[in-house]
């Protein structure tokens, strides 16, 4: 069956319809959970079906040219004409598959996970809406249209992080996410303006065509454009220095963390760089910055992940770290590797989050049953869960191996490709050698904290509590089935782009070739071959295994106390536990001063003080005072009146007679 790409609007329209239905239910029939349970996932599955059919048709037809689906003219303003149209090409189709596929699984999972929440309908409304915007983001044929989705997913992220807004911390986290993203958006917008000024167009296809003609490769302009673009990406994809929102974003329901803050939205930055690959390729300096920031983030976040106890926090920092890898990839010019890692990461990180969700779900039920107020997400309260939740344990183990980079799981291939690319680029730009080193160390740390996570959660003695222990059990099927699917994908995802070395044919690489043609021209990358390749692979495996082992040993070497009895952190661990005090630094250096400046200086000082009291009321007061002085002269004394009269008379004499 051939499905035209013109029908892609249907993929967007279905979740939109779902949003409207669920939204209406949330407002007026919040208890109609059955309907929500059907509508919510169904629209996603429908959307996935549409995407899959189009993908299949596209692949079967072997189409390489992008297909633009025009909906309507959005912003016509003279030379600027922004069409609201969708760009279907090989890159967007890959993303679409991930978004709708993983999205469908997570929707299904949510049916079980969120069932008992009073805001069930609202939750699905938000989730559907998120998918709508995510699809717009992926499909947008021009920067402004992409920006609709870009900001829209940010909005949904905001709403979902603050889903349980009754707790101030959650509402704070949502706001923080939105604001930090806005800083990135500022960069995004400036980049758009620069592109407009430089090229007179914002359409991706036109930009790709005009950029080589009107921009000097390596020139200031293209460097600035890409740096600003990357600022946007750093916001959305949680890179240094804008990563701070992502760990806090774990305040949202766990499926949300899986979908938005692991699998899809946060990878939008990577997608954007891939989408505008021609620009980045033309700006090697920017690419280096991207790769550097990515590598640094990968390392930095991994260190923080070492000393977190909240299971979701560990995964959050892990996400930041993995996103760093992706940027390292696209910055290196290995766009395919970046996208590849994006896809595999979507599989295994979604699996990890959902698995963690399953654990938390279980823990929560246990504590709920005994009316205990312990933290259901703290790993120190877990331990030995493999007995109660075997399915979850096995699947999480797969994901752990995948993320740690153990062959043949998905993560190994994608991560290895990135590191190899960085190493290769090092021959040309030495800084990349350092980035590679960062990547390698981060890989070791990743293995370490994942081992720690698994050990603390599933092994050893259970620390939940004697009474609670009885209530721990495996999640229902609606939750485990998606986990299984993801487990399969995490295990086998590597096949997507299996390199020739392992007998693969690098499908993804070839699939994306038409999209990356221009980039290859400007920023060609020679991947290592032969001996180097083997050494690198060997090193990677070694490091992954070593990290896992060390992590296991270190964690299990000492008894773990439940959170309530744990001793406070000390020394460097404390710094790590407090995430290098970055949040505190931002608060003290930027947010606080700005607020004080606004309140004390600008509002009370300038506005109420200088302008109002000084200028406005001052002049009024001056007028009044002058008038009062004048009336003081009006003493009622005729003598004075006559004197003034005569002064005036003399004045007239003087003026007229000189």
């Amino acid at each position: 069956m051939y499905v035209s790409a013109d029908l892609i609007w249907l993929a967007v329209a279905l979740p939109l319809a779902g949003f409207l239905v669920n939204g209406a239910l949330a407002l007026w029939r919040p208890d109609a959970k059955a309907a929500v349970s059907v509508v919510g996932p169904a629209v996603l599955l429908g959307s996935f079906a549409v995407v899959a059919l189009i993908f299949r048709s596209y692949a079967l037809a072997g189409l390489a040219t992008p297909h633009v689906v025009h909906l309507w003219t959005w912003l016509p303003a003279g030379a600027l004409t922004v069409e609201l149209s969708f760009l279907v090409d090989r890159l967007s189709l890959v993303m679409l598959m991930v978004v709708t596929g993983v999205g469908s699984l997570i929707h299904l999972f949510s049916v079980g996970y969120m069932r008992s929440d009073p805001g069930y309908a609202r939750y699905f409304a938000y989730l559907n809406l998120f998918v709508v915007f995510m699809l717009v983001l992926v499909l947008g044929s021009s920067l402004p249209v992409l920006f609709i989705g870009w900001e829209g997913v940010g909005l949904c992220s905001y709403l979902l992080i603050g889903f349980w807004y009754g707790d101030k911390a959650n509402a704070d986290a949502g706001k923080k996410a939105f604001l930090v993203n806005r800083i990135g958006d500022f960069g995004f917008m400036v980049a758009m303006f620069l592109i407009w000024v430089a090229l007179g167009s914002l359409n991706f296809l036109e930009v790709a065509e005009l950029a080589p003609r009107y921009l000097a490769a390596g020139g200031t302009l293209v460097t600035m454009i890409t740096l600003f673009l990357f600022l946007g990406c750093a916001g959305k994809s949680a890179q240094i220095p804008l990563y701070v929102w992502l760990p806090d974003a774990m305040a949202g329901p766990t499926p949300v963390s899986a979908l938005i803050h692991a699998a899809t939205m946060v990878t939008a930055g990577v997608y954007l760089v891939a989408r505008t690959n021609i620009l980045f390729a033309m700006a090697p300096l920017s690419s280096t910055v991207v790769a550097g920031i990515g590598a640094l983030t990968a390392l930095f976040a991994a260190t923080i992940g070492l000393r977190q106890y909240d299971i979701k926090k560990v995964l959050a920092y892990s996400t930041v770290s993995q996103l760093g890898y992706m940027f390292l990839a696209v910055g290196t010019g290995a766009y395919v590797a970046g996208v590849f890692h994006l896809v595999t990461h979507a599989f295994f990180k979604a699996l990890l989050f959902l698995g963690a969700g399953s654990v938390i779900h279980s823990m929560h039920h246990a504590y709920h049953a005994t009316h205990s107020h312990e933290d259901a997400q703290d790993m120190r309260n877990m331990g030995g869960l493999r007995r109660a939740m075997p399915w979850t344990f096995v699947l999480m183990l797969i994901a752990t191996l995948a993320i740690a980079g153990i062959p043949p799981f998905a993560g190994f291939f994608s991560k290895d490709e990135i590191l190899a690319a960085a190493f290769a680029r090092g021959a040309e730009i030495p800084a990349f050698r350092l980035f590679w080193l960062f990547g390698v160390v981060a890989a070791a740390l990743t293995a370490f904290y994942m081992a720690r996570l698994m050990a603390m959660t599933f092994f050893g003695e259970n620390r939940t509590g004697a009474e609670e222990r009885k209530h721990l059990h495996e999640a229902p099927a609606i939750m485990t089935v998606p986990l299984v699917v993801l487990g399969v994908l995490s295990a086998a995802g590597g096949l997507l782009n299996l390199p020739a070395l392992f007998g693969g044919d690098a499908k993804l690489e070839h699939w994306l070739d038409p999209v990356l043609e221009g980039a290859h021209h400007y920023f060609p990358l020679e991947m290592p071959h032969g001996q180097t390749e083997f050494v690198l692979i060997g090193l990677a495996i070694l490091i992954a295994v070593g990290g896992l082992v060390v992590g296991w040993r270190v964690t299990m070497s000492r008894p773990i106390l439940p959170a309530s009895q744990a001793a406070p952190e000390a020394g460097f661990w404390k710094v790590l536990y407090h995430k290098y005090y970055v949040d505190e630094f931002y608060e003290a250096a930027i947010v606080g001063p700005l607020r004080r400046l606004s309140e004390r200086v600008l509002w009370k000082g300038v506005d109420q003080g200088i302008i109002d009291r000084g200028g406005v009321e001052g002049s009024a007061g001056l007028a009044r005072t002058l008038g009062w002085i004048g009336t003081r002269l009006q003493t009622g004394q005729v003598g004075l009146y006559l004197t003034v009269f005569l002064v005036g008379a003399l004045g007239i004499f003087f003026v007229v007679m000189g």
Binding site: L27, W72, T73, W74, L75, P76, A77, G78, A79, L80, P144, I148, E151, G152, L155, G162, Y165, G166, K168, A171, D172, G174, K175, F178, L179, R182, I183, D185, F186, M189, V190, M192, F193, W196, V197, A198, L199, G200, S201, L210, P212, R213, Y214, L215, A216, A217, L221, L594, R595, L597, S598, E599, L602, W603, V606, D607, I611, D612, G615, V616
Partner: protein, 519 residues
Amino acid sequence: MADMLNLIGYQGWVVPVLLLLPVAGALLVVAAPAPRARSIALAVSLAEFLVSAGLWWSFVPEGGMQFAASIPWMPQWGIAYRVGIDGISLFMVLLTTLTMPLCVLGSWNYITQRERGFYALLLVLLSGILGVFISLDLFLFYVFWEVMLIPMYFLIGIWGGSNRLYASIKFFIYTMVGSLLMLVAILVTAWMVGAATGVLSFSYDHILANASAVGGRAPWLFAAFALAFAIKVPIFPFHTWLPDAHVEAPTAGSVILAGVLLKMGTYGFLRFAIPFFPDVAFSPAVTTIAVVLAVVGIIYGALVAMVQPDIKKLVAYSSVSHLGFVMLGIWAATLQSVQGALMVMINHGLSTGALFFLIGMLYERRHTRDIAAFGGIARVVPVFSLIFTLVSLSSIGLPGLNGFVGEFLVLLGSFGRFPWATGIATTGVIFAAAYLLWALQRIIFNKLDKPENESLTDLTPRELAVLAPLLAGIVWLGLYPAPVLRRMEPTSRQFVESVQHAIPQGAQAVAAPVNEGHP
């Protein structure tokens, strides 16, 4: 539709009807028994809106004035009743006529005292504002400009909050200082043009065509015009009347003030100050001042808005910020930036209007505007919260909603001319999110910890009816602004082209791709 309108001679009578209908309605309101006042006012303002709605179809999107008319008034002085509508005024008129029935409906239960006076003043105000937007005679313009002060003064002063007396007189005198200097400038301009051409006339077209006759006086005259408009906009540092007026005004007053009145300032710049004296307006010094003040307004307004404990004040300061975008767009004088500025004017009217309505509805329930008095009310008033969030997002400039369209076009269009200023202005989008989201959080999110808030009732059908048109506008203009943009394009183009000669070479906006010398 346009043909049907032509059939009934719409173009001939629409403007006088628009001007006179509200006045007649006001008389009717005064004559009617007090309980009837609001119904009559609603009917009249709805009729007014329906009449004006025809403009949408009847308007031909091309340059120049339409629906124009001229009736001698003071022939010895060349003063006449001259009116007309172009792509700039069209939307100001529609915005005004749209806002007014909503204001009447929004005040339905809020105004319990002296209803007749209130609704009559609203209708008179409607006439006055429309007059400002459609006058093509400087004298007529000035008269409307001033006359509309009076109803506003009474609206704030009689039906306002606790500090209304201070606010109303501040509003009045502040505005008056500027406009009186403008009066002098109008006179000087008209007389100098009259002396140079031998034809004394206050006609807009006549003065526009011969404004160069003022010669060396132009900077002073421009300054006088600009001051009047700057106060109205308001541009930092002439903005301090705004928070007071907004806070104290009754809901309808705030809505009109923010939704329509502030646009009179930017409209004045677009219609009079800049076209008359483009060489002054775009001289390096004035451009610098204008752009710096615009950017300062954007950032400053946002920062101060952030720390306001009073919701209305917050929104008031946000207006300062938003209008800064308009100023920036006007001064950049590219087609995109000017259209963007016009869009911001419309969008600000819709979203800030809606915000004030929402705050008013909250105020009617709790009798406080203190942000700290709320919290967590999303649970008890979900519909309200949904709309409040949506409107806030529109104000923040979320793409897909109307606010983005204007801001984006302004910034995009201005960037080529003022990269630094525009860059700084763009940070305004961060601050806008900061103050509105923070307020949003403190009002509808967080813990529902005040017992008074637990019994809040959600929006009534009447309140929904007030908000619905605005919400429709917010979404429609966000997703499909093309019909609006197309209608304003010819006039904007005319404006841009007419001032292009005054813009120093090298500073002109980039219209075509720049070649950096790539092989």
